[in-house]
């Protein structure tokens, strides 16, 4: 297949040769590896890559991925790192308007008519800078032995083309979901040359208009993964509860990749947190292995105050009984449901003491460390925060595991925001809204829902799927909702934007979700026999010296059972640490401080934490009010 630059302009082309999304389980060769957490099936490609920056597509080094291309003028860049933090692209912060505001006139393809295909809009965009990434690797011996070798990109913003040894492999959009490609056909012994061409913009730009610094580049890890001849490709774990709320209702579905119909056995074991065995079974390898509704009496429930996790261990054995791979997964028993228009966890009303959390590190932007995550969870715990909305995109995979362990209720949000297509200078004006009901945009957004679901579906902490943020509503978002409803009856679906287009309220979102509604307006809603329980997906806008008046929201909790709390906007300021050009001291800078225009300036600083992860004074107020409703 030949890659085409035109894919950047076409909302219907968003993944080419990508492997289907699957669960985020890890797998190991032995119990020893499992104990260390280091899988010999993986090989990191993080580190220094060769790099060439081009200001626009026409200036890019065409053919740079060819083994004999002259790359003597290439620089280097770190993976993961934003191209802007590395100093090639200009730092820019903007909220709702598109980052090309005042510079380039663009309308989304098909939004104003079937004939408006947007050809050249991005493929020939003068603002569409390009990063050519390249490095060599030699497969580790352990990976060379495996049946299949794939490469995983955990996050590349905003569109990427991939080559191996000069041959085109595939194309991906969706900056915040993992993209995986099969490299097996292109691999060779010895040194391999992997090349990635990253474009700053594509049609994805219209649906990645989140209120954030606008970055590009390979900003999360890249790794090679070797998969053995029998491999658990996907798993679905359901740890539900029976109606008595004490009996665990366990189901498991494994999807196995088998080379040449390889034979063997799959051993499934469940242990409690202390390692005591509760269940053990061995099944012959097949394409699918299922355990349905296995009941466990008197299970230890998972909840915020006691996030008890059981241990699932799947061991794949070959015909000789030798271990092929071991897949561990911790899961909890818990039940999420809507009953009498109230959302319940394990039979009890949920009260969300939540925060919205962008991934942020003042030094590196959205390249964050596991230490950052752990520190955030410590802050959650110290301040009675029990819930997080992954605003407004899937986060690093580790975060979901950590939330399972910490008992943080997650609203797992898709990578979707098209704010600038329907709201202009504060007014609702959806004349060129995407995805809207446009068929040309539907698959791209449903694919984002699919990726979010497939990757994270086994995380106990996720109580809600969220379709995205501030994208208005139409048939396409209704299709995303339908996707979740078809695939997951163990969780509820959230979407705020339907409140902007009531026509879809019976098709989208299990809850009434509003942002920044004053307490009096919420009371009015709740006083009028509403259809759905109410959640503030964003409230208490903590910009600068703020967070006054929280008592009025708190009062709703006791008064209205259908008021189920919310998520403060937001957890941490987005500001970038740099050196003051005058004094040389370390300072934090915000939108507009990089000559970036049009900008929304300090609007990026709405956190309970300053960008350097020190707390704002308002945090003690959150601790107090959230502490009144620990659940």
């Amino acid at each position: 297949m030949k890659p085409e630059l035109g894919w950047l302009d076409d909302p219907q082309t968003f993944r080419v040769n990508q492997l289907p999304a699957h669960s985020d389980h890890r797998f190991y060769q032995s119990d020893t590896d499992l104990a260390t957490g280091q899988s010999r099936f993986t090989q990191s490609l993080d580190g220094t890559w060769q790099f060439k920056f081009a200001k626009q597509p026409s200036e890019r080094p065409v053919g740079f991925y060819e083994p004999d291309y002259d790359r003597s003028d290439f620089d280097t860049i770190t993976v993961p790192e934003h191209i802007e933090i590395a100093g090639y692209g200009r730092l820019k912060y903007i909220n709702t308007t598109y980052p090309w505001e005042g510079k380039i006139y663009r309308r989304p393809a098909y939004a104003l008519g079937q004939d408006q295909k947007g050809e050249g809009m991005f493929s020939d965009g003068e603002d569409n800078y390009v990063g050519a990434y390249l490095r060599t690797f030699t497969l580790n011996p352990e990976l060379r032995k495996q049946q299949r070798v794939v490469v995983q990109f955990d996050g590349v913003e905003q569109a990427m083309y991939l080559w191996l040894n000069g041959q085109f492999v595939g194309y991906a959009e969706d900056s915040f979901s993992q993209s995986e490609f099969d490299l097996t056909p292109y691999l060779k012994d010895g040194e391999n040359l992997i090349a990635v061409e990253v474009f700053k913009r594509s049609t994805a730009a219209f649906i990645e208009d989140q209120d954030m610094f606008r970055f590009s580049g390979i900003f999360r890890s890249v790794r090679l993964v070797g998969q053995p001849a029998i491999h658990v490709q996907d798993m679905r774990i359901i740890g539900n509860l029976a109606d008595d709320m004490t009996t665990g209702d366990f189901s498991l579905k494994l999807q196995l990749n088998r080379h040449d119909n390889a034979k063997g056995n799959v051993k499934v074991a469940i242990m409690d947190a202390d390692g005591n065995s509760l269940f053990d079974t061995t099944e012959a390898v097949n394409d699918d292995v299922e355990i349905n509704h296995k009941m466990f009496k008197n299970v230890h429930l998972w909840q915020h105050t006691d996030p008890y996790l059981y241990q699932l261990k799947v061991t794949v054995l070959d015909e000789q009984g030798a271990v092929v791979e071991i897949v561990p997964y911790q899961f909890g028993f818990r039940r999420v449901e809507m009953k009498n228009k109230i959302m319940l966890l394990n039979g009890k009303r949920i009260v969300l003491n939540g925060v919205n959390r962008h991934e942020w590190d003042a030094k590196s932007g959205r390249v964050i460390s596991v230490d950052d995550m752990k520190q955030d969870l410590k802050t959650f715990k110290e301040n009675n925060i029990n819930a997080v909305r992954t605003c407004h995109y899937p986060n690093r995979i580790e975060w979901y595991y950590l939330c399972d362990q910490a008992g943080i209720y997650m609203m797992a949000e898709n990578n979707l925001e098209s704010h600038g297509t329907w709201q202009k200078m504060g007014a609702v004006e959806p004349s060129y809204n995407v995805p809207g009901s446009l068929p040309e945009w539907r698959e791209a957004v449903v694919d984002r829902a699919r990726s979010n679901y497939e990757v994270f579906k086994n995380h106990t902490a996720i109580l809600f799927w969220s379709l995205g943020n501030e994208s208005y509503a139409g048939d396409d978002i209704a299709a995303m909702n339908a996707f979740y409803k078809e695939h997951d009856d163990t969780r509820l679906v959230h979407y705020e934007g339907v409140c902007r287009n009531r026509k879809y309220e019976d098709q989208i979102s299990d809850m009434e979700s509003m942002m920044y509604d004053p307490p009096k307006e919420i009371a009015k809603y709740l006083d009028n026999d509403p259809k759905k329980p109410f959640v503030d997906c964003e409230f208490m806008h903590d910009m600068g010296n703020s967070l006054g008046g929280m008592s009025s929201y708190d009062a709703l909790i006791d008064k209205y059972p259908m008021y189920q709390g919310g998520f403060i906007w937001d957890f941490i300021d987005q500001a970038i640490e740099t050196k003051d050009e005058v004094t040389g001291q370390t300072v934090l800078r915000y939108g507009g401080d990089f000559d970036d225009r049009h900008s929304d300036y300090e609007f990026s600083g709405d956190g309970l934490m300053f960008a350097d992860r020190t707390p704002k004074p308002a945090l003690q107020e959150v601790k107090y009010y959230y502490g009144k409703h620990i659940n």
């Binding site: 010296n545 300072v587 300090e602 004074p617």
Partner: protein, 320 residues
Amino acid sequence: MANTSTKQVQIIYGDATLGLRGEGFGYIFSYERGGMESLVQHGKEWLYRTPKPTFWRATTDNDRGNGFSVKSAQWLGTDMFLKCTKVDVAVNGNAIELPISPENNKYSNHEFADNVTITFTYETLTVPATTVTAAYTVNGTGKIKVSVDYHGKAGLPELPAFGLRFIMPTAAKGFNYDGLSGETYPDRMAGGETGHYTVDGLPVTKYLVPQECGMHMQTKQVTVIRNRTLDNTDHDNHDFNLTFLQAGQSFAFSCLPYTAEELENATHIEELPAPRRTVLTVFGAVRGVGGIDSWGADVEQQYHISAEEDHSFSFAIKGV
């Protein structure tokens, strides 16, 4: 020390000032500068410029978003340029003719009283204008009772703040207070825990854009600790302090190195000048910060400060 309650304060009937002295203290009130010009305890000066009523707060992000600063902009001018229009003096509670020359020729170099009250009347630069008075009553121990009264007037926009601002000659080493933990406002103080707190230096909360900050609600006392003066003969760098006490109701205060106007003018914390003064403001009324949103939602009504109503507060400065 002897029974201080019987001590009297000495009055110096100057031509431009009224001086009040006693053991360990010396205060000067300036007719020209419209306020207390000097507050010396144990040889250390505590005033850089005369304290004045204050009405402005550095615009918060929420204030900007809901247009509060625009609506109340008159108070910024008043905060900066407030003028004193009248001075009254009372000795032992009895009003006397303003003791300026030649009226003061009738006094001597040994005038004493149990207490002296000097009251400054200020006229706001608003339309319509109104008045504020600040009265200082000093007794023989050097204790100063301060009462500040704002006279409400129909048609005036809401007040961003109402307090009395002391600017001290050097930056404080720190302060301690009996009140609530952290930075609190009327609509954000439920999480504040009552206690005795010590603060090092004069921290400015590092909001991305400098703005109103550092408020401490429900305070019983605050002690400012300094160790430097501007006196060229003073080579001592030992700590010395001044204490503001509750007189009647508890008070709110902030202790920062900047005035509201200095904070207002910076877009980043690093643009603020090097800290060189202490700005201690005692507030009689504090507006809430709000938080529903930052692009229009008002602070809840009960946390506004009406300028159409009277506001009064008092506190004391501890004597020696």
